[in-house]
């Protein structure tokens, strides 16, 4: 590690490592955040969920959206529609999208996340599970 030689260098290091704790800082106030949850079970990953998740991370960074948290879940059960992504706006019910590729991801971000306008590809909630 080269020594930090000025306050500016310290600040740029801080900006570079910020993401180490960013998720935790946002997580403390997760109720006020937009949560993008990518299903990352074997089926999801095989269908490209990891790419989708990384792409979302890139988009969020480019758009400087500070109120968005990207995280993952396991299998949501919609194996036929992988990669699946669940989007939760603050105070709203979660919405699940199927077949989310890069193009779809961009659309979800632009419309749903930025202006709350839902887009095609929503997997309807057909039933509640028995324990709910």
């Amino acid at each position: 590690m080269p020594k930090i030689m000025s306050l500016d260098e310290l600040k740029s290091l801080r900006d570079n490592v910020k993401n180490k704790v960013d998720l935790r800082e946002k997580g403390e106030n997760v109720d006020e955040m937009v949560v993008i949850r990518v299903a990352m079970a074997t089926c999801g990953i095989a269908s490209g969920a990891r790419d989708t998740m990384n792409f979302f991370a890139e988009l969020v960074r480019e758009n400087e959206l500070n109120n968005v948290v990207i995280t993952q879940s396991g299998c949501m059960g919609y194996c036929y529609a992988e990669p699946t992504v669940e989007v939760t706006l603050p105070g709203k019910e979660p919405v699940v999208y199927g077949h989310v590729n890069k193009e779809k991801a961009k659309e979800i971000l632009e419309k749903h996340i930025k202006s709350g306008e839902m887009v095609d590809g929503i997997i309807p909630v057909a039933h509640k599970s028995l324990d709910e």
Partner: protein, 595 residues
Amino acid sequence: MSKFTMHILVCGGTGCISSQSNEIVEQLKFHINAANMSEEVQVLKTGCFGFCEKGPVVKILPDNTFYVQVTPEDAEELVKEHIVKGRKVERLLYSDPTTEKKVSDSKHMDFYKKQMRVALRNCGFIDPDNIEEYIARDGYSALGQALSMTQQEVIDEVKKSGLRGRGGGGFPTGLKWEFAYKNEADQKYVVCNADEGDPGAFMDRSILEGDPHSVVEAMAICGYAIGATQGLVYIRAEYPLAIKRLEKAIKDAREYGLLGKNILGSDLEFDIEIKFGAGAFVCGEETALIHSMEGMRGEPTTKPPFPAASGYWAKPTNVNNVETFANIPVIFLKGADWFASIGTEKSKGTKVFALAGKINNVGLIEVPMGITLREVIYDIGGGIKDGKKFKSVQTGGPSGGCLTEKDLDTPIDFDNLIAKGSMMGSGGMIVMDEDDCMPAVAKFYLEFTEEESCGKCTPCRVGTKRLLEILEKITQGKGTMEDIDTLRELSHVIKDTALCGLGQTAPNPILSTLDIFYDEYVAHIKDKKCPAGQCNALLQYKITDKCIGCTACARVCPTNAISGAVKQKHLIDQEKCIKCGACMDKCKFAAIIKE
């Protein structure tokens, strides 16, 4: 770029480690690997979350889920259910004692609602062994900021914040820095007092274990302000984890150019060395601490000269406590005005307390000054264990005093506690219920100070011994009313004549309990009774009519004090009875009572 989309924080404080948190970390990592998710899920060990009562604590983010009393065996379920399937593991969530509802997020727990974390801001949030996590939380920015100010400006900022020493004395920190700054010398020293000695106190240890860099950074700021190039941390060797994390922090800070020469490209030179103490209580007193660091006996000397004028190797030395230092970076990051807006008129900021004793939520808490004892004990602490009645709370450790029911609504600050006959001290808070005997509590503290007295001055060396003897006499039912007068008189003499703070404050627990619980002393002396039922010498074990003559008690009695035929009521010979209580534990019919 961190690719992790989920963080599992496991408490790595000494308390939770002794409840297997290291094994929990290993198990979590193992099962996450097995689920093929090690690229997405990060498992890390943090400092103390404070909720020691329910440890080990595991927190999952961004879901903001707080699991309590987790065992290594729970790791598999946590991974398979929460991480893989996204379902919270209900049985490991905290259950609200009044509503019995499960609470998944710490913000909604009574224990955390009234807390405000300033000194503990990073404890339980970052990996203390990772300097970059500290930097990500604006670490070392305060140092950078201070370097752009003049030395006097830095001192003025600390003065303006109103920060007072958190080790017990409550002396204004900025003023202390100014004294050391104004005393010119070729060499000056910054000393961090990490010799936390009060029984039951673990604030400083937790800060060093959970956020060592905040202390390193603050010491460097202080070094710049007073013109010192050398820092020393005096820490007791019985804090191995704190030492290990501090050593790592100092090493990393050197590597990053945040300690050493030309810090952040400036002219500032500052480095830190660790000095180990053997755990003597008196070495928390700054002159004794300095002598101990010099390799001499840990004995205090009279002040003046104060360390600010003549301290370590007779050079100007500034000594501050760990918690005091932990507040410094925040004062620069958020401003002295922000800090001064918290608390009461003369006590600014927050205070960390170690809550212990007969309270439901034992743990480490940080609250704004001015909060009432009632809020601390009932709201945060969750009230008294087993529904018993609150009797007293002891603050200030062996130097402090007791507060009772009538003091519950007093706002806690330095001056109010002194006015009520106790003191802030370093932050130990021991709660006592109706079963605690106050003369015995005073005896406990005197046993401690008598043993810890360094022996240099007569009032403390001999005086504490005599006080303890009288207390022993009283708790054995052999005291006289004259003993109470002697206790009082001797206490005042010791207070007035002892050399250092240890002796001057050692009689406080006696004076305080004599004031408030005089009746209990009288009951021990005149009635030969211990109202709380604690003093063994004054108790008698008796067998009631519930006895069915099973002989179990007679067989377990080590002194053969119990006699009686089979199927007939037994009898205890009080002369032979040593009051060990073995019979009472053995009796299945609750036929043996203690009165």
